[in-house]
Amino acid sequence: VKNPSSSLKSRFITRFLGALTKINAEDPISSPSPTRILQLYRRIKVASNKSMAYSVRSRRIWSRAMLSRFRSRRSAFSGRRSSVKTTNCTTINVTINENKTAKGGLDMQTDELRELVPGGEAMDVCNLLDETAHYIKCLTTQVQVMRKIVDFCHISKKSSM
């Protein structure tokens, strides 16, 4: 029986490594300027999430939402409008969390889950839970792979040093 997560993992690995090498090729890492590094960090994060989303292809609602978000973000990247939007979202998030009490039953949590999982706003609870499960699985794969890469880098760095 073919294990779907392993193939997902391999797909993600190949894509992510490809993206990393591309980023590495564009700009050498040794430049320590903070803004530059920040930029790189963001790119890597985006590359990681993107490669995961692409590995899932469009089989899942969250991956589809994520992909559309990437595409829209890329188009609106010039004016940095997307980041402005996100700050607004975070401020709203703060107020919501402060008002969070247990009285709302499960609605509060489901709303929060909707915010976390990309594309979760337009899903009913049943599908939301389903998507969350798959999303968690993909995230764990992502983290595993990245951690392994980090360890590998560390080891190689140590040996080189």
């Binding site: 590094i37 920040l38 960090y41 994060k45 980041s83 609870v125 968690i136 699985k137």
Partner: protein, 468 residues
Amino acid sequence: MHTELLSIFSKSKPQSRKKKKEKLVPSSSISFIIKSKKTLIMQPCSREMQAMNSLLNPTQQIPLQDLQINGNSHHHQQIHVPSSSQFQYPTPTSTTHHDDSFLEQILSSTTSFPWSDETGPPNPEDNNNAGFNYDEMVLASKLRQHQINGGAAGNPFSAMKMMLMMQQQQQQQQMMLAGRPTVASAAAGGGITTNHQGGEGSMQALYNVFGDGSLHGTMQAKSFVGANSATEMTQSQGSGPTAGEAVTAPEKPKQRVRARRGQATDPHSIAERLRRVRIAERMKALQELVPNANKTDKASMLDEIIDYVKFLQLQVKVLSMSRLGGAAAVAPLVSEGGGDCIQTSANGGSHPRNSNGDQTPSANDRLTMTEHQVAKLMEEDMGSAMQYLQEKGLCLMPISLATAISTATSRSRNPMMNHENPTNGSHLLIQSSGGDGPSSPSMSVLTVQSATMGNGGLEGGAASVSKP
């Protein structure tokens, strides 16, 4: 047609004499049938009444047959003949008839229902029919009650269902009297389940009862009737379930096993139930994925799930940071980009912000508290410190990274950028002890929850406690 049936019944008559008194005496009942059938047909003015009458008839026929079936085994084969012939009789004719009339015909040979005074059986047969008529009276009262309640008087389907239930009960009674409870319970169980399922099922159950002791001869009748009934049921399907529900409530049988309330055929409740079941399934699947899934409460489980998702997203960010060429590059990142990342996660959002070093005082306070506690613990006993960290969901990173962070942050002026998730979920505890941070112990601990990582952080190295 009546004479035919009469002969059929008369064949089985001698056998029935051996049976107990409560059982049917076919001969008397047959004359009763013939007498009352005409009156019955003339009596109902509306079509629904007619249908109900015809529906009522099987209730008597079934016990008749089953009693014969349940009787001595050597009567079994003989019984098959009448039953099969009975069934085969209506089939050729009813193809041309309407559904209601078909039912009428198939039940034409049965004893009629004593509709109050008009169809009272003749006196000399009263003694023989005592037991049987009593049941009939019971059924009549039930039916009248049903009619009075007006649940679905115009609905032959619901009447069918009701009659099926009553018949089941009656059957059960008689089965128990006959000492064959298994068949009765099976039939009753079938009847009950069919109440739940709806039209086709009830028809099937009806003919299952018929077919319990009979051979394949009935099968064709069964299938034909099933098809017919299906068409009939679909006609009345909409009002059927709701009517059936209404019907079950007001009846008060003596020994009848009732259709369970939880099995209400209301489509809304069914959909609701289905939805709940699916959600429960998904929750269970999520429980397996998320660690610390020992919570039984749905709300706390959702909280756990939310925290875990946040934590994973955070880990991706952290790891993407550390990806950037090792320790050297990480430190400034931690100071600036990390603050970003931490703060946003502190606020429960996963959107990075551009502002650097923007911290809310509440986050600071919380983290310094934890930091102090961990520091205290570390001074006393490493094990307990680790335990405390792990209980909080933290673990320690390899020394190399931590030392890099500490050296880097000692350069840059960096207040305590601590962050703690109050719900004890994902934690990113970065304590940068600058060289200029005198009060707090200089503990560089970059902690990431190690739940599923197999203590990847721990295996890298020992706890990095560097005191100035």
